[in-house]
Amino acid sequence: MNRFTFNKAGNIADAFSSQQQSDFSKFIAGGTNLLDLMKENVERPDHLTDINALPFQEIGMNEDGGLRLGALVTNADTAYHPEVEKRYPLISHAILAGASPQLRNKATNGGNLLQRTRCYYFYDTALPCNKRKPGSGCGALQGFNRIHAIFGTSDHCIATHPSDFCVALAALGARVNVTGPSGERTIEFEDFHRLPEDTPEKDTNLHPGELVTSIDLPEYGFHENYKYLKIRDRASYAFALVSVAAGLKINDGKIEDVRIALGGVAHKPWRNKEAENMLKGTTPEKSAFEQAADLILKDARGFGHNDFKIILAKRAIVKTLSEALNS
């Protein structure tokens, strides 16, 4: 790990002034991903600002009936929060499908959104990676790419976003509240993470120095018909090869609303509204789910080792929607 200076921020103003003193500084909250990357010399900040004392520690009701998840609440406390379990079980299930209990006790909601890819080329400083070192090339394109993306890739990067939580947030249509030196703003979840394009070093649309303060869940949480399916190489404590978060709202035997978000397949949680709209108003049945899956996978492209994800994702979507229907 490189050497760095360290400050504890007592309030938000403190955090910004501490952070602004260096171009290579980082905020630290749970630190589980950042410190791991620092040990690998992938992240080399020269200054850390500890934000754990900032007032983003609560889960509470919003005026619109939705729920606000504080950025500093741990993943475990979020997953086991009674309101989250009751009204947003998709969120609980997704969080509990990821990491280990020890990591979930430390990792925060804000940090979960900002975790970096687990692409092996990103992690290995001896190999090229445009995300870690812009312009150095992408090792995965012509290399080992079994875990890599099939949607929204570019010639510069085929990495995936590793979060489970974010897949459920994308499905629900959450919003991310942030604050920065130039004020507060709210970002729609689908606009929070980026596709790699020609700047894969940027994972999100946060401005420099901005902090995630909370995540807002909409009033309706698809608590009646939902499913998070995670497919991975071992049954626990592994990243998704493909995951699907699905929610169905059934009214009078028809699909009134539906959400389908995929993880492990793109640089951000992948949602296809065209497929969702196709299902709305129809009778929930396997043939309709298969058509939606076909439509979603129409845009998929494999890179050799990860070609299997295309058929796997298709089957996973149908299975997840079927299980959501019967949940």
């Binding site: 790990m1 490189n2 050497r3 760095f4 200076t5 360290f6 400050n7 504890k8 501490s18 003193q21 260096s22 500084s25 630290i28 749970g30 630190g31 589980t32 410190l35 791991d36 620092m38 040990k39 020269d46 200054h47 850390l48 500890d50 754990n52 475990a76 086991y80 990491a99 280990s100 209990p101 020890q102 990591l103 006790n105 430390k106 049954a235 626990s236 404590y237």
Partner: protein, 166 residues
Amino acid sequence: MEQATLLGTHESTAIKLSINGKDHSLNVEPWVVLLDALREYLSLTGTKKGCDHGQCGACTVLINGKRINSCLTLAVMHEGDEITTIEGIGSSDNLHPLQQAFIDHDAFQCGYCTPGQICSAIGLLSENKVKTTADIRELMSGNLCRCGAYQNIVAAIKQVKGNIAE
């Protein structure tokens, strides 16, 4: 880096950590993780270093009663917390029920992962989410045992947890 030295703590600072109910004063650099502070600065070597990346669970300790990986957190971030390591759990003539259960079920071979397994299992029991044996397996998945004593580790935890379904 010259500018960086002006920003804050770069050299070692004096901190106080409360470990197993006792205050310890030490000087650490900001980049020292809690695991290294315990082992290298305080000679509390019961907590083990395995992967050093949060994947194996050998370094598991309890912070304010919650299990975490001590390799992935900075020592300077834990002033004011109550840290519990394996040294604070039971004693040779008064074992913690989990320690006794690990002996009863031969839940280790080399023993290197055991302090982390026990601290993790204590966290697991206090979280109170276990209803089945499968839950124990899932909620202990952050602790690896290279000797493969998993069956016996699950049996030991089951003994302490009491009546649970398969």
